[in-house]
Each structure stands twice: as structure tokens, then as C-alpha cells.
Symmetry: C4
Subunit: 233 residues, 4 copies
């Protein structure tokens, strides 16, 4: 088992920073109503190392200190961080690891069972791009991934294959729930918040009548503008 | 009336610990939006004694100190805990007691009227197992119990008979609401949180179209894995 | 104008206590999600006097100190409480006053526009008694009152006439919202919380199929038991 | 670029006060559940100057100090406020500026993507005036504006043209979300809170059956009374 203490001081510092980030980002999941109990997780790639940091399994959001975060290799194996209380990583760790191995541009991954995104996933129905907010953030409809078998790489494969065919940073895994990615953990959390917001609003819209998709050209324009203009640069 | 002061020091210590647990666990019910006002209750069996601890009747969640918790025999009779302010137990005490008498493996019971689980109960409709989360936690569909008469053992009997025919730790009592069980109070609270989460999501899914149940083999696999792999061991 | 300073010390003390109660009870309205901004109000009769205390008009829930509460006669006229900052009473004061004049057993009145109760009111549809919780608290279906003209006693009359034909402490005023009553302000607030809880749950139940009303005899039994057994006596 | 330091002391004081107002008002958006992440903004006109203050782009509600607020001319150009950390204004700034240029009576503008108002906007369906609360606050149905092109004045024009044909302080921009106006920032925030409350309630009402619009005369009476009687004068 790889030992944290044997890694370079730079990597150890990067791990410590990533643990701080990941612990803090977990607070956003209950804050925005995306999770109950322990049912959601955030991970982030450690810059400059083939490692990522993820939530421990079955631990409540109140107990998520930086020290409780688990450090894993890109194969999803926990490394020895030298603490006696070292915890087992999330039961979704293999899926996160698969994404990091196959999508080098991804620096953060989030998985939740947020209500309305999961409701679309239960019906295996993509979320149509009927709102400017969806064009901005997702660049088109939010796609559905396959119903994946547990215990092999099916979930990770389904995520990666679906995301590669789309501009969307979110995929709705069939009868399971959303996974989101981003350039870092914070961006992936933002996508998890936004996929639920879009899903909830489109759900409400569709309950009382049909809705037209936005024209493709408008979606392109919204998405390009949002990538380049929005926020502080 | 049995007197707490006459019990062995070990049992008195176990009662004190269980009161702490039950008082703390009640805070989870409003936290996860399962209850309003005083409309839900948690109980836990006292280890090593034929006793359990339950919420007092009609007391708000703000006032639930360990001292306010009521200690009962497995017949549902309050014991004399030596305090002048001793409170009457929950009006659902007989149902909890029946479960403890007939299901020795159960260490905790929770009753709520959480919105979406109760909506399925109102229609007497089991919650179909259409989400991996439902397979994980409930091992199949979440069953409906009978419409029970008030004032005898009908509610307790209905809970026990329904749970015995299922892997689910939750039963939706017809036109009433969910009861959940677990190896201790915390596990029963978790099941109460999860039954509402699953009910809310499946409700949303069914509003906009049909949903397929997961294959039985996949449900078996999810459930077995979740019992054995999830969490810290 | 009646002056508070001219009333007996006993009445002044009762007014002060009622102001404390009414100010504190307003915090329950946003806490249980019954109101936004300033859109709901609580009043309570002053024991031993022909007075009641009510929310000032258009003031936010953060600013509701006991001193801000307005003291009115049973005709709905504000009395001079001797403070320079004296505020105008709620625009619903006339309706509260009408209830106090015509229902001497009522000690508290609450008005909200809580979402699901108001949705039934918008359709002028009583809430059917399909849940044991509704039998317990309301003793049958929750009735609808008339669409009342603004500016005379129509609202108060509609509340009183509808409540007199029912065991329910709540009435859904057509296309307006719920009014609830109780033996004091706290009981009326409880009824306001419970009418929304029942409305939300029955709304969810009816969205996915029909629901049967509970048998009348069961409702009678639930209601009688709840009046006599529930809570601390 | 206009420099804040060159403006008169009175204008500088008014800018400082407006920054305080706008920073504080942003806290109301998450408080009432109108926004997630950074997806909503408040602006307010600076009294006595051709300036307004608006949210910086892509900054979370936790970080919205008065100093972070951006000061703009009525053309939507940021002025130099002399701070090194000066932020870019909201990506919706051009729409706010257009409203201030063309509606001199408007002192505050708010934009959100609140769920139910946006669901009506997605269907391009006005919110019918079926509740007294809607008559009070909006004086009739809440209108829908056009689907506007991004990058020119289409959004601002659509807002202004739609509001001019209505008593409503809220417009639902098609497939986008609500914009609200008021005599100051606080009034526009109130309208944003109320449009979501009305939208949510009417959504729930319409889910289970048709609802009749209030008679025009009653709406007129509600609206006139609310403008003149409600609140503290």
C-alpha cells in the first residue's frame, strides 16, 4: 500500500490542500438540498499527483473534517495516510477513479441522488434544454447514461461514454442518479447544484403542459457566452 | 408500577445512555423535514433489559431533553423514573411495544407522517423498487400495511406481519404513515429518512410517466452488497 | 380612543403577557414554512378583557418584538398603548375581531396563505379526510368558506358560519387562504401548521390516483381519542 | 471611465448607502429559496445620480459585502470605484440598465430563476389571477415577455414593453425567468418573493383541477386597497 509519508513534501502539501477543499465542498450538498443522511459524495484530483481525495463511506456530513477525507490512487485504492482512524472510502470510489483515469481534463467529480434529477434518471429521460439556464450551464440537453451493473467498471464506463458525446458536465445514470464533473471539485459541485435546479424547474414546467426546446443556435450562443463572459476573469 | 431506582446500576446506566440517544435522535426528524410540530417519534430498546425509551406525548422537538424521555416496559407501561415532572409517553407507545415484544432483533422504532411516504400510504400503494437507492436500503418494494383500528394491538400487529414478509425495514401503514425499524434507534431513523427520500423521488418520477422496476437479481445484488460493503467496518 | 394606561393593573399585565405570546408565536409561521415576507398573522384574546393582540401590518417577522404587537378592542379598533412608535394593526384585523365577537370559545386566530391549503382554497375544494392525522386534528374534512368581499364583515362572517358547521378548527376561505382558530394563540398556530401538513400530503396523494375517505366511525373515534388522550394532562 | 472619487460628496454618500442596501437585500434571495449558487441579482438606483448598484458576476451570496457591489452608469458601464479588487458586474447588467433608462419611476430591479415562476415562463403561460394575494400585489395576471436574444437590448426591451402594458411589477421572460421592479430595491425584492409564492400556489392549484379567475372588479378593489391601506403609513 502506497504511504503518504513517502511522497514528496509538495505532494503532501497538495494532498492537505485538497482534503481541505473536499471537506468544505461537502457542506454544499446538504446546504442546497441535494442529499440526505450520507447519500452523496465529492472528490477532487490532487494537482501534480496521480491521486484524488474522496468522502469516507457512510459518514454523516457533520463529521466531514479534512482528516476524515480518504486519499486514493487513480485505481481507487486507498493509500496509507498514517492515521490510525483511517476510514474506508465511498462505495462509489471505483466510479470516480474510472473518470479520473479516462478524462484527464476532469479535476472534480460529484455524485448525488438529488430528487428531480434522479426522477428524470428513473424514467431514463434526458432533461430537455428548454431554459436559458440550461443552455448556459449544460450547452444542450442533459443526457442519460446506462443502467449499470454494480461491482465492475460499468458505472465509470457509462459516465465517461455518455459525457464524451455531450457538452454537458452532468450525466443522469439510469435509475440511479446524477454524476457531475468539472475542472475542480468546486466546478463539479456547481454542476450538481445546477442540474438539480434545472431538473426541478423543467419537472414543474412539464407538469402543466408541453415546453418547446430552445433553438440550437440560441443554445450555442448561450453556452459560448457563459463559458467566456460569466463570472470574474 | 416498576421503579427505576430499584433496577440494577447497570440497567440504570443503560437507561441513561438510551435516553441520551433517543433525545438526540429526535433532532434528526425536523432536520430532514420528516415531521411538523410534535407529529413523529423515536424509540430505542434498552440493552440488557426488557425496557425501551420513547418520546413523551405532545411535546415539541425543542423540549426533548434526555430527562423528558419516557421509560416503558415491553407492555408499553411507563415505569416510575422518580422525577416529579414525569411525562406521559407517546400515544403510539402501544405499537412500539408490540414491535419490541414480537421482533427481538429490532432495537429501534420510528414513526412519522413524512409527506411522500404518507401519500403512498394514503393510496395504499407500495413504493416500487425503481431506484438503486431503494434496492440498497430496502431490498425490494416498500410494502403497505393494513388500515388499523385505534385502541387495540391492530397497528402493532399490522407492522409486524407486514415487515415479516419483506426485507424492507419500512412499512407504510394504510392511510396513516410510515413505521421503520432497525437494530438500534439510529438505524431506524436512517430508514425513516431514506423511505421519505425514496418516496419523494419515486413520486416525482411517476408524475411524468411510467418507470420500470429494477430486475430482481439486480435488487438482490444491491441489497447484499449494501448490507456488507457500505460504511465503516 | 381607549388608553392602555387607564386599564386596571391586572389587564395591563394580561396585555403584556399576550404581547409576549403573540410575538413568540409569529416565529412559528416562517419556521414551518407557512408564510413569506409579511403574509400571515397571529392574534390572541387577552384573558379577562374585551381585547386582543395582533401583528402590525406589513412588518417582517424579524421585527416582531412584543412592543410592536398591536392591542385592539373586539371591534377591531386599535387602543392607545402610550408608545410613540405605535403601529397600524394587520389589514386582516376586522376578520379576527369578528371571530372573537361571535365565537366566545375562541382564544386565538391565525391566517396564512400556506401553499397547499391555499391551493385547495383556490379550487374551492374541501380537503377530504383520508388520513388518520386529519381525523385526529380536524375530525372530518376541512371545509371551504365563501369568496368574500373586501371592506366589510364578509370574511369574518364566512369564517364563523363555516366553522360552526364543522368540528374543524380550520376553514379554507375561497381563493384566499386558511384561517384557523383555537382555545389560545398556540392552538390556532398548531392548527395552521397541521392544515398545511394535511393539505400537502393529500395533494401529493391525489396527484397519483384516487384516495378513499376514512369511515365516519373511525374518524369519530380518532377525533374523540385525540381530544382526550393526546399530550400531557 | 467615470471615477467615483470625482463625484460630489453627496453622491458618494448615496452610493455607499445604496451599496449597503443592495448587499443586504441579496441575503433575502437564498432566504426565501429564490436562488441557488449565484443565479440571481438585485440592483438599486442611486438616489440623485444617474447610477445604479448591482451584484458582481459569479460571486456567491456569502461573499456579498457592500464593497463587492459594483457601481454602474445608466448605460451599464462600470465606474472606477478606486478599489483594486473591483469586480465585473452581473452578466444581466445591460437588462437592468435598460429598465432604469426607460422607466424613471423604477428604483430597484431583481432577476431570479425561482422555480415555479420560471416553470410558467418555460411554458410562456401568464399566471392567472386566481388568488386574492395576486390581486393585492400584482393587480391582475402576471404577464409573459418575449424570448429574447442574448447580447443586445432585447431582454431590457422585452421587460419594459411587457411591464408597460400591465399593473404587475413582475414579468416572466419566456424560457428564462422572472424580472421584478419596484420603487426601490426592497420593493423589487418583495415582488420577486411574491411572484414565486403566487406561482407555486397557482401551480399546485392547477395540478388538481381548473381554477376560476377572480372577477375584474374584485381585482381592482383588492389592488387599490393594497396600494393604499396595507403596511405602515
Amino acid at each position: 500500500m502506497l504511504r503518504l509519508a513517502e511522497l514528496s513534501p509538495d505532494v503532501q502539501a497538495a494532498v492537505a490542500q485538497t482534503r481541505d477543499n473536499v471537506a468544505a465542498l461537502h457542506a454544499e450538498l446538504p446546504r442546497w438540498g441535494l442529499v440526505v443522511w450520507t447519500a452523496g459524495n465529492v472528490s477532487e484530483r490532487v494537482p501534480g499527483a496521480d491521486l484524488f481525495v474522496i468522502k469516507p463511506s457512510g459518514v454523516t456530513y457533520d463529521q466531514l473534517t479534512p482528516e476524515a477525507m480518504v486519499v486514493c490512487t487513480l485505481d481507487g485504492a486507498k493509500i496509507d495516510d498514517g492515521t490510525a482512524a483511517s476510514l474506508a472510502p465511498s462505495s462509489d470510489t471505483a466510479a470516480h477513479a474510472y473518470v479520473y483515469r479516462h478524462m484527464p481534463e476532469v479535476g472534480g467529480v460529484v455524485h448525488t441522488h438529488s430528487t428531480y434529477a434522479t426522477a428524470f434518471a428513473a424514467r431514463r429521460q434526458p432533461i430537455p434544454c428548454v431554459l436559458t439556464m440550461c443552455g448556459d450551464e449544460f450547452g444542450g440537453e442533459i443526457p442519460v447514461g446506462p443502467l449499470a451493473i454494480i461491482g465492475d467498471d460499468s458505472i465509470g464506463q457509462g459516465i465517461v461514454e455518455t459525457l464524451r458525446g455531450s457538452r454537458s458536465p452532468a450525466v443522469l445514470m439510469a435509475q440511479h442518479g446524477p454524476f457531475t464533473v468539472g475542472q475542480n471539485g468546486r466546478a463539479a459541485v456547481k454542476a450538481a447544484v445546477m442540474v438539480e435546479e434545472v431538473a426541478r424547474t423543467v419537472h414543474a414546467a412539464l407538469q402543466l403542459g408541453p415546453v418547446e426546446s430552445l433553438p440550437d443556435k440560441m443554445v450555442d450562443r448561450l453556452w459560448e457566452r457563459y463559458q467566456n463572459v460569466y463570472g470574474q476573469h
